[in-house]
C-alpha cells in the first residue's frame, strides 16, 4: 500500500502545536501519530517533546561506552607498552608510573567520549541522510513544518486538519 507524504508549514510554533494536537486526537485511520509525524523547525524547541510525546534518547549510552573504552584502552596501551615492550628504566620512577599514566588516560577518556558521542549522534539522528523530497527552505528560515506520512486514504483528512489550522502552505507527494 502506497504512502503519501504531506508537509504543512506554519508561521509560528503555537499554530503548529494546535495542529499537532488535533492530529493526535483525530485518530485517523492509516496514520499513526507516534511513528508518522515529524516536526521540522528552524530552532530547537524543547516543547516539541511535550507536543509529540516523549521519545527516548540513546546518545548517552554511546558516551558512556566511548569514554570507558577510551580510558581503558589508554591505560592498557600505555601500561602495556611501558611494561611489555619498551621496558625502559627512568631513574627515580617505576617502569609503570601511575600518576603520569593517569594524565593520558584522562585525555583518552575524553577523546573516546567525544568521538563516540558524535558517532552516536549521527546514528541516532540518522545522519548523514538524503533530504526528504518534501522539504522547504522556509523551515530553515522561520517556519515550522509538520511532515506526516500516511496511507493514501488518510491524506484528505490530514490535509483538512492542516488547512483548518491555517497552514501557510501544504505540499504533498506520493511516497513509496
Amino acid at each position: 500500500m502506497s504512502k503519501r507524504h504531506i508537509l504543512a508549514l506554519y508561521n509560528d510554533f503555537d499554530e503548529a502545536e494546535l495542529a499537532v494536537q488535533e492530529l493526535r486526537t483525530a485518530q485517523i485511520k492509516g496514520f499513526n501519530v507516534d511513528d508518522d509525524l515529524t516536526v521540522k523547525s528552524p530552532i530547537e524547541h524543547p516543547e516539541v517533546e511535550r507536543m509529540i510525546g516523549y521519545k527516548p534518547i540513546r546518545v548517552q549510552w554511546f558516551t558512556l561506552i566511548g569514554a570507558l573504552t577510551g580510558g581503558i584502552l589508554a591505560f592498557s596501551l600505555i601500561a602495556g607498552s611501558q611494561a611489555n615492550f619498551y621496558s625502559q628504566m627512568k631513574g627515580g620512577k617505576p617502569i609503570v608510573p601511575i600518576p603520569p599514566d593517569m594524565v593520558l588516560t584522562y585525555e583518552m577518556f575524553i577523546l573516546g567520549g567525544v568521538y563516540i558521542t558524535v558517532l552516536g549522534f549521527l546514528i541516532c539522528a540518522g545522519l548523514p541522510a538524503r533530504r526528504s523530497p518534501l522539504y522547504s527552505a522556509k523551515v530553515s528560515e522561520d517556519q515550522i513544518g509538520i511532515l506526516v506520512r500516511s496511507d493514501e486514504s488518510a491524506a484528505p483528512a490530514l490535509k483538512d486538519i492542516f488547512t483548518r489550522h491555517k497552514a501557510l502552505e501544504i505540499q504533498e507527494e506520493a511516497g513509496k
Binding site: 530552532i43 546518545v59 627512568k90 577523546l111 567520549g113 541522510a129 538524503r130 513544518g145
Partner: protein, 455 residues
C-alpha cells in the same frame, strides 16, 4: 549605550544579515588575505631556515634552549580557551547572551590551537622525526615516553583540537543547512550540501542534537582545563626555579581564559565593524564580555601575586633569585610591561562608560593580549637566564629575527584561517540567535500576560 538584540527582529532578517557575511568577498578581503598570506610566508621562510640550517639561527643556546617558540605556543594555546568558555561553560549555564558571539570564539579556539600546533613542530630540532612522538606500533617496540609532559601536551592538544573541531562543526550543522538552502548554486552549494549532512531540522535531529551538544560541552570544560594545566605541567613538573610552582596549573588556566577573552573582544570589534553585525553583536554583549574579562583579569592578577608571594616567602633561594631577576634584570622592561598590561590596563574596563566604548575596548584588548604574550615569554625565558646553576646563567640571549619572524608569521597563519572561516561558516550562529529571540519573545509575552492578569 546601544541597544540589545531586538525581540521583534524577523528570523528571515537574521538569515539575511548573517548570510551576507558569507557572500562573495569584497576587494578589501582579498587585500587582507594577501597580507596575511605574506606574513605567513615570512614565517614559512624563517622556518625553512630553521629546518635547513638548524635551530641555531634562532639564537637560542645552551642552556637557554627554549625561547619565543614555546612562549608563543603557550600564548596560542591560551587564546583557545575562551572559545570553550563561551560556548561550553556559558552554554551549560544557559547564558543566552553568548549566542551571537560564541561561534567565532569557537573558531578562534580551533584556529589558535592549529597555530599552537605549528609551534610544536617549529620548536623541534629534528622536525623530520616528529613521528617518533606518536605511539605507533613498530617492529622495534619503541614507544614514546608516556611520562613526559610534552607527550601529554601533544595528546591533550590533539584531543582538544579534534574535540573543538567536532564541537564547532556539530554546532554549525543547522547553520550549514541554512546556507545550503539559501545559496543558489555552484561549488559552495555542493559543499554546504555535504557539510550539512542532510539536516532538516526534524524533531529527532534536534532531540539528539541537543543532548550531543550538551554532552560534548560537558566534556570540553574539563578538557580545556586539563589542556592548559598540562601545558603548565611542562613547567610545573620540571625542577627549575620559577617553574616548579604549585599554582601554575590554575595560573595558566586563568591566563588562558584571560587572553582568550581579550582576543574575543578584539575579534568582536572587528567582526562587528566589518560585517555590520551591530544588530547581533550588541553593546550589552560587549559589556558582559568586558565584565567577564575584568573578573578573569583579577583572578589572573591574584594568581600572579600568589606566585610571587610563594617565591618570596618560600625557602627556595633560587626561586626568589629568578623573581628578583625578572623584576630587575635584563628582562625587567618586559616583565613590568606584562604587569602593566595584565594587571593595570584592565582597570580601564571598570569604567562603565568605557565598557561600551569600542575604540577604547579595542585598544585595551590589544594591550591585554600583548601583556599575556609577554607573560608567557616571562615564564619561559628568565628561568633559563637565571637557573639553579649560577655559572650557566645567560643574560645576553636575545631571540634572533628568525624567531621573531616565526612568531610574526603565526599571526598571519591565524588570520588566514580565520578569514577563510568567515567566508565558509557563518560567524554568528543563526539558529541560536533565533532561539535567543524566541525565548526573549516568550519571556516578554509571559511578562505581559502576567501584567494583564495581575492581581
Amino acid at each position: 549605550m546601544g541597544k540589545d538584540i531586538r525581540e521583534d527582529i524577523a528570523w528571515a532578517q537574521i538569515n539575511k544579515d548573517v548570510l551576507a557575511s558569507v557572500q562573495s568577498p569584497r576587494k578589501l578581503y582579498w587585500v587582507i588575505l594577501f597580507i596575511a598570506l605574506a606574513v605567513f610566508g615570512v614565517g614559512i621562510g624563517c622556518e625553512v631556515m630553521n629546518y635547513r640550517i638548524g635551530l641555531g639561527v634562532s639564537n637560542m643556546d645552551n642552556p637557554h634552549v627554549w625561547g619565543l617558540y614555546i612562549a608563543t605556543f603557550i600564548f596560542w594555546i591560551g587564546m583557545s580557551h575562551s572559545g570553550t568558555l563561551l560556548s561550553a561553560i556559558l552554554h551549560l549555564m544557559h547564558a543566552d547572551w553568548r549566542k551571537p558571539i560564541y561561534r567565532f570564539a569557537e573558531a578562534m579556539t580551533t584556529f589558535s590551537l592549529m597555530t599552537a600546533g605549528l609551534f610544536v613542530a617549529v620548536h623541534l630540532g629534528r622536525l623530520w622525526q616528529i613521528y617518533y612522538a606518536l605511539p605507533y606500533p613498530n617492529e622495534r617496540w619503541t614507544w614514546p615516553n608516556f611520562q613526559s609532559p610534552l607527550l601529554w601536551d601533544a595528546m591533550a592538544i590533539f584531543t582538544y583540537l579534534s574535540s573543538s573541531v567536532i564541537f564547532l562543526y556539530i554546532g554549525s550543522i543547522p547553520d550549514l543547512a541554512i546556507c545550503r538552502d539559501n545559496i543558489q548554486a555552484g561549488w559552495r552549494k555542493k559543499l554546504y550540501s555535504i557539510l550539512s549532512l542532510g539536516w532538516e531540522g526534524t524533531d529527532r535531529q534536534w532531540r539528539n542534537f541537543r543532548i550531543t551538544y550538551m554532552t560534548v560541552a560537558c566534556f570540553l570544560i574539563p578538557l580545556a582545563v586539563s589542556v592548559h594545566s598540562i601545558v603548565a605541567s611542562d613547567f610545573a613538573m620540571s625542577q627549575q626555579p620559577g617553574w616548579h610552582v604549585t599554582s601554575f596549573p590554575p595560573y595558566f588556566v586563568a591566563g588562558a581564559l584571560y587572553s582568550g577573552c581579550a582576543a574575543i573582544i578584539t575579534l568582536f570589534v572587528i567582526l562587528r565593524y566589518v560585517f555590520k553585525f551591530e544588530e547581533y553583536m550588541t553593546l550589552p554583549i560587549l559589556r558582559k564580555t568586558v565584565r567577564l574579562t575584568f573578573a578573569i583579569a583579577m583572578v589572573w592578577t591574584y594568581l600572579n601575586c600568589i606566585e610571587f608571594a610563594s617565591a618570596w616567602y618560600g625557602h627556595s633561594q633560587a626561586d626568589k633569585a629568578v623573581l628578583i631577576q625578572k623584576a630587575t634584570g635584563p628582562y625587567a622592561p618586559f616583565w613590568w610591561s606584562m604587569i602593566f598590561c595584565g594587571s593595570v590596563v584592565p582597570f580601564a574596563m571598570m569604567v562603565k562608560k568605557w565598557q561600551v566604548n569600542i575604540p577604547i575596548m579595542f585598544a585595551v584588548s590589544l594591550l591585554l593580549n600583548l601583556g599575556m604574550w609577554l607573560e608567557r615569554w616571562m615564564i619561559v625565558s628568565p628561568t633559563f637566564a637565571h637557573g639553579y646553576y649560577p655559572w650557566s646563567w645567560d643574560h645576553d640571549q636575545w631571540p634572533s629575527l628568525v624567531q621573531w619572524g616565526i612568531v610574526f608569521g603565526s599571526f598571519g597563519w591565524f588570520t588566514l584561517l580565520f578569514m577563510v572561516f568567515c567566508k565558509i561558516i557563518p560567524s554568528v550562529s543563526m539558529y541560536e540567535v533565533k532561539e535567543m529571540v524566541y525565548h526573549r519573545t516568550l519571556a516578554k509575552k509571559k511578562e505581559e500576560l502576567g501584567l494583564e492578569g495581575g492581581h
